[in-house]
Symmetry: C2
Subunit: 412 residues, 2 copies
């Protein structure tokens, strides 16, 4: 991508109202635009990162589920049926905005914050025999929550991206089996996102759904909102809300701050009961379906990654989700930079080409702020040395390498 | 994709309430699930088609604009500022659904049916010098419209997919130049979607925005809602609403039904005035920005394609957007079908494998209903003949070809 054609520039100053690292760096770097608290537009750089995160999640989800795309508008009736219309305290509804609109239609719809109320009738329409089950559907889609104040950048949104998976089973045993498989797939995802080392499965409250625990995926992070107690002897980690009595005084327990990046729930039969979703078993008997739900918020994950991987100069993106692999700083505004840009992009390397009229200082500062893994500099000096200056964002030292070795350097 | 793992099956009967061809075939084929009138979930097959359409649009849009992802929630203030809060008659707002939610936050937001009110402040933040312009942003995103009755399947939705592009210019001349370029790119898109031959640029009303015409892209279609008058001498086509006087009695004019698949508007300075969006010209003067907007509805396009390409047995997808290239009908439930499936998918061919326990009649009917370009049949007969039976959806005759020639046949 050519920077002068992108339509967006990094800013010199951080936004004044930023209370979190991800909010500050992502807005200043030109990744996101704040519409309101907790509501962000993804700008070209931000959408690149978000799409990479979503595509990694999608690749792994395809192994265990069938992708669909549900709507945000949901019949109010569905939410009344499960009793959640009145019990969920962050629920938005969509209604006519003005008189003219009301004259056309005064209908009301729930603006879905989660999709159990929509996916259950879909699964029910097509899967009513034990032969059809288990089955799992997932989607990557936008969710709405009427949060009063959302001040943590992408960590807590009123409109945000979610991957939600729902599974349907003939028995609790089948649910448990799938649940364990989903747990493994989730860990694969966080590994590929660069969060593997620091992400733990932790026990959390089952909420309304189950007397058992649910499970969260928590990433160690100094600014994290959750407190985790990890028993270093057993390896079991607990969210503070469910930690064993005395854990805070027990030397076997280590406690740390963490950000939730995913959660999985054994829903049991709560929703199948509400929708009378039964299946015909081998013996012809009608039995209730067992369900699980499994969430990862791609936009939230993007925020968590920034909270973890940054320094005083800007973001340091993990390789797999950087907006571009290479940030090409063009100080000379010469034909050389264009040649390198064309050569790399023709070889499948994603390059952000800073072709702006700006000082070297500004360009270097913006490269560090944006945080692509490799910075190339085309300057008078590098051209005279017959090469291009390369530096990894993670490292301090740069070197000049011959142009013919550039692809090897980048792909190594 | 393996059909028994998809979680969705084609239905034996068409939905009773279907008033349009696309609604009937897409629901019966298991492409979409109707939540309410004008609100459809995309099921695995439908999402495949939708994603292909969106990716074709994206590829062409990347040539003239920068992709972003705006939100649906928009500050009400923005819509009041342009005067459209009260004048747009299909506007939804999002508000707290219940008492608990209202206690948390009683704020109201517009649920965007179009994004001029959001994109203008974004462009304004980053592009205020003549050096920054022209610039164009686009997104592929979900839109909401409070339509009272939506009865045409994917043709008229209350929640639907939209590609919207917005361009920003220093002069009317620059806008006109970009507008003509966008027109060409749109025709390229409709060509690649298989609609090229039958899609015309037609003159339509400029609406609120301009005293000039706007332009629509209209696809000839027997069930289309619009009437087009084409002057066969000049080649100029008019939407009935702006046709020249007497055109309906003029032998030079041909009239036909058509479906709108895209529209482009010279917005002029309406929105830049509302947001005080000016730029600094070469001479240091502040001048108003000129804007254009350009829309294609991917979900609507999907509906139009079905309205055009079908027969009494089902859908006939154009090559580029078929959910799968190959529909593999497995009558034998043998190892042979699995070998073919693995071989083709390993060679990058998208295959839908009907591995269900069902009669040949059911499987053939469903293959025709779903409408992939090539049908393969693995049967006792084909195995004995040492090959596989192939048939194109468009043609009547099938033939048996040797397995080793299969890839050539498919890719030819």
């Amino acid at each position: 991508m050519i920077m002068t054609k992108m339509g967006i520039k990094p800013e010199k100053l951080a936004p004044k109202d930023a209370e979190s690292i991800n909010h500050r760096l992502l807005v200043q770097g030109g990744f996101i635009f704040q519409e309101m608290a907790g509501v962000y537009t993804f700008l070209p750089l931000g959408l690149k990162v978000l799409s990479k995160i979503e595509n990694i999640i999608r690749k792994h989800m395809d192994k265990i589920g069938s992708e669909i795309l549900m709507t945000s508008l949901c019949p109010t009736e569905n939410w009344k049926r499960t009793g959640r219309y009145d019990s969920v305290d962050i629920l938005f509804k969509a209604i006519a905005a003005n008189k003219m609109s009301e004259e056309k239609s005064s209908a009301e719809y729930v603006l879905s914050p989660t999709h159990e109320e929509m996916v259950t009738p879909i699964a029910q329409k097509y899967n009513t025999s034990y032969k059809d089950l288990p089955v799992a559907f997932y989607q990557i889609q936008t969710k709405f929550r009427n949060e009063p104040r959302a001040k943590s950048g992408l960590l807590r949104g009123r409109e945000f991206r979610m991957k939600d998976l729902y599974s349907f089973h003939t028995s609790e045993e089948s649910l448990k089996e799938f649940y364990e498989e989903a747990k493994k797939v989730y860990l694969d995802i966080f590994n590929e996102l660069g969060l593997g080392e620091d992400t733990l499965v932790t026990l959390a409250s089952g909420g309304d759904f189950t007397k058992d625990y649910s499970h969260e995926f928590q990433t160690r992070c100094a600014t994290g909102e959750d407190t985790i107690y990890l028993n270093n002897e057993t390896g079991v980690a607990y969210n503070k809300e469910v930690m064993p009595e005395g854990a805070d005084k027990d030397a076997n327990y280590e406690s740390f701050n963490a950000c939730e990046v995913g959660n999985i729930f054994p829903l049991g039969t709560k929703f199948s009961k509400a929708f009378d979703y039964t299946f015909t078993d081998k013996d012809g008997e009608q039995k209730l379906i067992w369900m699980g739900s499994y969430g990862i918020g791609p936009s939230r994950v993007m925020g968590v990654i920034v909270e973890k991987f940054f320094d005083e100069r800007g973001i340091i993106w993990p390789e797999n989700i950087a907006p571009f692999r290479v940030h090409l700083v063009d100080l000379k505004q010469s034909e050389k930079a264009k040649q390198i840009y064309d050569n790399l992009t023709n070889n499948g390397v994603e390059v952000l080409w800073d072709d702006r009229e700006a000082t070297p200082g500004e360009k270097f500062a913006d490269a560090d702020l944006i945080g692509c893994p490799i910075r190339l500099v085309v300057s008078e000096r590098s051209i005279q040395a017959g090469g291009v200056e390369v530096k990894r964002r993670k490292e301090k030292e740069s070197e000049v390498i011959a142009i013919e070795n550039l692809l090897d350097f980048i792909n190594r």
